[in-house]
């Protein structure tokens, strides 16, 4: 039983000690993604069915005959977590209505990495959100295809080196910025959209709780530090998450019925990107001119977000 289900917000002392994603899985040391997953599961509680895409979280948790999942769990393929979750939601709804299962609300959630969300899974995600399923989708974004060996995705940040966007002599890593999938979700009129990071655990869990309580589609994009893929120290996961947020390169915000709101206060002068970049091997090749370009893109994206924060109004 989730002891905090009657509380609207999480507080450290009230967090359930029980793990619905149990220890003993095969994640790398310092994995920010599995930390996010653990907190998400705590916030979701046991009346949850998880549809998981192929990816790191799937392979570290379900090597047959073992499983780390204490809740009902299904993995089908890479690009279809949202479609499988749609089916789970429809199945549970029909069976409950027809009296074939217990008359109790069970939340269908889908969990995928950035590849399974923003690239190969985008169509299934768009379809599920557009159809208005009562489905909470969590994108655990570690900014590349880490499971297959650190290849770039459309969530890889500008100029980051990956194995398919290498730091070449002519081309300095990833040539584009991150695809803004939260914005695409808002464009689907998804009633609850948020960004989160496990370096801010209470903020993350509160957003998960809101997504869970949304009767309809919800989307949470979770920044998940990957020390292995980012060529960073495994003891700096939390710090890197904080820096991504503080620099504004991954701002924390939520969008409730179209109204954008920052969930963290930013000072007039945000932390410079250089502080964040220099801790990661994937940005080691950047020269001062590159860092200026990266900073300029982060500033532009932040301005776009602030414009939405300042001008958006709830549509209901």
């Amino acid at each position: 039983m989730n002891t905090v289900e009657n509380f609207e917000i999480f507080a450290p002392k009230l967090i359930d000690k029980r793990e619905l994603f149990s220890p003993g899985h095969r994640a790398c040391q310092g994995c920010g993604e599995v930390l996010a997953l653990r907190l998400i599961m705590k916030a979701l509680g046991e009346d949850t069915v998880v549809s998981n895409a192929t990816g790191c979280m799937e392979i570290i948790s379900t090597a047959y005959p073992q499983t780390a999942w204490e809740v009902p769990y299904i993995h089908v393929a890479f690009e279809n977590a949202a479609a499988v979750g749609s089916g789970v939601e429809a199945g549970l709804k029909a069976l409950r209505r027809k009296g074939k299962i217990a008359d109790r609300y069970v939340k269908s959630v889908a969990i995928a990495g950035d590849g399974g969300t923003v690239d190969i899974g985008l169509q299934a995600l768009s379809g599920a959100m557009e159809r208005g399923h009562d489905l909470a989708f969590f994108c655990l974004d570690n900014e590349a295809y880490m499971n297959t060996g650190i290849q770039r995705s459309s969530a890889t940040p500008f100029m980051a080196a990956t194995t398919t966007s290498p730091a070449g002599k002519v081309i300095h890593g990833q040539r584009t910025g991150k695809k803004n999938v939260p914005e695409i979700m808002v464009a689907h009129s998804v009633p609850y959209v948020a960004t989160a990071c496990p370096s801010y655990p209470i903020d993350l869990m509160n957003k998960v709780e809101k997504a869970k309580n949304t009767k309809g589609p919800a989307y949470v994009h979770v920044f998940s530090v990957c020390p292995t893929g980012w060529r960073a120290a495994s003891n700096e996961t939390i710090k890197l998450g904080r820096m991504a947020v503080e620099t504004g390169s991954f701002p924390l915000y939520e969008v409730e019925n179209g109204k954008y709101r920052l969930t963290i206060e930013y000072p007039e002068k945000r932390r410079p990107m250089e502080d964040y970049l220099k801790l990661q091997g994937r940005f080691r090749h950047l020269d001062p001119a590159d860092i200026v370009k990266v900073q300029a893109l982060v500033d532009k994206e932040f301005r776009k977000l602030m414009h939405k924060v300042e001008t958006s109004a709830p549509w209901i």
């Binding site: 949850t48 769990y73 749609s86 429809a90 199945g91 169509q123």
Partner: protein, 387 residues
């Protein structure tokens, strides 16, 4: 049994699904399956059945949603055709490996390229090794009957495998035929509620779709193969139950005037009806010709087929698909393997015909039979091709 009515077969397929108390349908429209999708949505939207109809954005998502819904314990249905089936392809072997009893209707259509919306069997033949039960209907009545049977077969505790019922696109799906529907009470008496082995529910959490290391993967493949082979026994049992209740008996392989015939034609799907007329015509002029029709493609009905073709001198296999760069059409290739060790095996003549909606008439069958008698070798021929 209700009275006989005239109805388009695609619509009848949807009506048959409507009798089966499904919980979820996830269907993406594609020609020539679209009337099934449309009519099933009518049935749901008019409140005639209590089910969720998911208007998915693709076939990949329709089969994926079916997997998710089936895993909750729901009875699920989908229908597709051609490119749609090809798009589902990735998920098909996963559904069978997870032993999810999804029922599918497939309106057979050629696969591109080039694009062609008309009938052949290339769509289903490309799914041959996906581990599904694959059946072919010959006429509208079979579509109704076999759709209802499919749920009982798929969900049976000794089977727990997905099924696909093939119905030839246009040539069958768009025909208006005299059809008899069982009543709801009769279907209820035949088709019990699904009793799933395991479901996605917090009352008893399970993990489904765990990945296999090399140490266990081979065993999993053998289990899947064994399950499919073993399903034949239950399929036949359920077909006999249907026969007893409704008076229409179904067999994995059907024979028509084949006893003692020197030459046998072998077909799958709707062309069996045309071929049977050709057999009648040929018999009139004293030819020793009969017909064998395969209803069950997977699991392959080894014993039944061997018995059905025993004693014939020439077996003419009609393939409605091409195995490019191979040794003949898929059906002929498999039958050649089957009888390889048989002492008195017949000579096999293989025609690739009826591709992409090309009509195959009674006269065509007669020509093919006559030409087969003169053929010396066992290579395949594209029948009717304009050189």
């Amino acid at each position: 049994m209700g009275k006989r009515i005239g109805m388009e077969v695609g619509i009848a397929a949807a009506e048959a699904v409507g009798l089966c108390n499904i919980d979820v349908a996830a269907v993406y429209p594609i020609t020539p399956q679209s009337h099934i999708a449309e009519h099933l949505s009518d049935i749901v939207h008019d409140g005639r059945i209590d089910a969720e109809f998911i208007t998915v954005e693709s076939e990949h998502s329709s089969i994926s949603a079916c997997a998710g819904a089936s895993a909750t314990g729901a009875r699920v249905y989908t229908a597709t055709s051609s490119q749609g089936l090809m798009y589902m392809h990735e998920v098909l072997p996963i559904v069978s490996a997870m032993r999810l009893p999804v029922v599918m209707g497939n309106a057979n259509r050629a696969i591109a390229g080039p694009l062609n919306i008309w009938n052949d069997h290339s769509d289903i033949m490309n799914q041959r090794d996906c581990g599904w039960i694959v059946m072919h209907a010959e006429n509208g009545q079979e579509v109704i009957d076999m759709t209802i049977q499919s749920f009982k077969i798929a969900e049976h505790a000794d089977v727990m495998l997905p099924t696909v019922l093939n119905m030839d696109g246009f040539q069958l799906t768009h025909m208006i035929e005299p059809l008899e529907f069982p009543t709801q009470e009769e279907v209820n008496a035949f088709l019990p509620d699904r009793v799933p082995y395991a479901t996605l529910h917090p009352d008893k959490p399970v993990s489904m779709g765990c990945f296999n290391m090399p140490e266990i993967f081979t065993e999993t493949m053998k289990v899947k193969d064994t399950a499919l082979i073993n399903s034949k026994k239950t399929i036949i049992k359920i077909w006999n139950e249907w026969g007893k209740q409704f008076g229409r008996y179904y067999k994995p392989v059907e024979s028509y005037k084949s006893k003692g015939a020197e030459t046998l034609i072998l077909t799958m799907g709707s062309m069996g009806e045309t071929a049977s007329v050709a057999v009648d015509e040929l018999k009139k002029v004293g030819k020793s010709v009969g017909l064998v029709k395969m209803r069950l493609w997977r699991p392959f009905p080894l014993d039944e087929l061997r018995a059905a073709i025993k004693g014939c001198k020439t077996l003419i296999v009609m393939d409605r698909a091409v195995t490019f760069g191979g040794i003949g059409g898929p059906v002929a290739t498999e039958i050649k393997s089957l009888i390889y060790h048989d002492k008195d095996r017949p000579r096999i003549v293989n025609y690739l015909m009826g591709l992409g909606g090309r009509d195959v008439t009674v006269e065509d069958f007669i020509v093919m039979v006559e030409r087969a008698a003169k053929k010396k070798d066992e290579t395949y021929e594209f029948y009717g091709v304009r050189e």
